[in-house]
Amino acid sequence: MAEIVLERLAHAYAPGAPYALKPLQLTWRNGGTYALLGPSGCGKSTMLNIISGLLRPSEGRVLFDGRDVTALDTGVRNIAQVFQVPVIYKSMTVGENLGFPLVCRGAPAAKIKARVEAVAERLGLAPILSKPANALTADLKQLVSLGRGLVREDVAAILLDEPLTVIDPQLKFDLRRILKEINEEFRLTMVLVTHDQTEALTFAEEIVVMNHGEVVQMGSPTELFERPETEHVGWFIGSPAMNFLPALLEKDRIIVPGTDLSVAAPAALPQGNLKIGFRPEHATLSPMAGDLEGKVTRIWFEGADEVLGIDWNAHRVKVRVSGTSPARIGEAVSIAVPTNRLCVFLDGRRLHLG
């Protein structure tokens, strides 16, 4: 169990190659649950492999509880990692798999036996301890991988690199619950890599959103939802994504021309491409003249909610309404958005307005 600090960390796979991971500064609290969220190729695995020591960063340092481990080997760091494709020792039984990290560390046999039994009990693997690990299904293999981390009571962190990708949806749900419970029980630092936002939002206390090798924003699910730092986050988090409309500076206000959407402009506003964004959840259908008028072109049913696709000036604005809305396709509607729910983006980055 450790606090992990990535200090001015950056990585390029070859000298002179573009950064796979751009310089960043991050702290992972001891016992926290984190999700690394981002599209494919954005550097998530690169970051995990640097933390676990499979990769030496080309710049910066990795600190565990203040101790510089950048040059230390994987084994010494005492990290557990679960990969996307289940990796298990095929020639061993489930029990031997679970005990292997302790065997490697030269623990006494009695201790190994006790730990393996405890972990197997916790993960529900007890009945199959003596089975060959090779015969297990993918989800059980992932549980065994996780168990290999848990047998070490002093494991610094458990890194999960898209461990649920190959798992059936129902079992996925169970595994996610188990992960969450394990975290609460053992207060282990856990980092889950995923490109599924639901997975990230339900698992983590804090989410690190990455794009093109860069950490775009780190924050709680609410923060990411309410105050996305970039257009990318607004677009990536939330379903459906945030609405973005082109905006202009007019006198002292930023407005979307042709609508009543407007925000007071800050004193010194640099030149650039302005957009106003708002969440589909924050807009409401307004019977009276609202901020924006458009025509309903699509309706998606989402359980208790409905999402309306409203066309306005060649843009499609989405609005989430609970229950069944009276709106019909082809009908003109008017929507309202509270001013404090509007976010302004300048060249893709959110402006911090008073």
Partner: protein
Amino acid sequence: MRTFYLSLKYLAVVLWSAFVIFPFLWMLSTSFKTANAVTAGAKWLPWVQFEPSLAGWQSLFGGVGGINIVKPYLNSGIVTLSGSAIALVLGTLAAYGLSRFTFKAGPLGNGDITFFFISQRIMPPIVLAIPFFLMLRFLGLLDTLPGLILIYVAMLMPIAVWVMVDFFNSVPRGLDEMAWMDGCAPVTTFVRVILPNAVPGLVVAAMFCVIFGWNDFFFAFTMTFTEVQLLPVSIVALNSSVTPWWSLSAAAIVSVAPLAVLAFVVERFLSRGGLAGAVR
């Protein structure tokens, strides 16, 4: 209808087996013949068509005009098994290195090193005969078992490297990384995690080594004079101006026997699922 197809299948299998087994049966029957029976045409039922004789077999064990193959047989066994074992150990280690680590020698990389090993087997063995001869003479190992074992290691290791590099490449790297993360030292990783996964590869490599080693005539012939004789060389010594088909047949049977047993065992192992699950 199903039985019809089944009988067709069986018929095909029986025909094929006959095709394969026939030469062996012919060899067996020839080994009990005498000169007259051999030249008298296609006769192969002993007692009915010809009077069986043990002359062919006796000539393998010190009979008149024959040799004694017991010593060469043992020699061949020792040289083949020790040569294969050493080649397999060295070759497997080299292959693991070539599969997992990056080597650079100027513009040359891992692939070139692997090819260098294989290239040893591409050139005709005669190219190597003189250097090998001089080296063994320098070491004083000409006409000795250790000398032959050295040569066989050199000849068999490329095979082991070749088979095993390919095999290790199919064992996912993630397995090594997992073991490192679990705190396993590199050597332990190799022995306890990777090797158990490589058993089918080892079996195949061992089989190739043993076959090539056992069948080698060229080096067995060029690196020995009088002290040490290997089986293929001693069999050639059986030959004379009148080809003794009977003793040659007997010799062929005894020299093919261990390989037949090996093939049987390996086939059993591989079909029993020795390969299953080894590769993802």
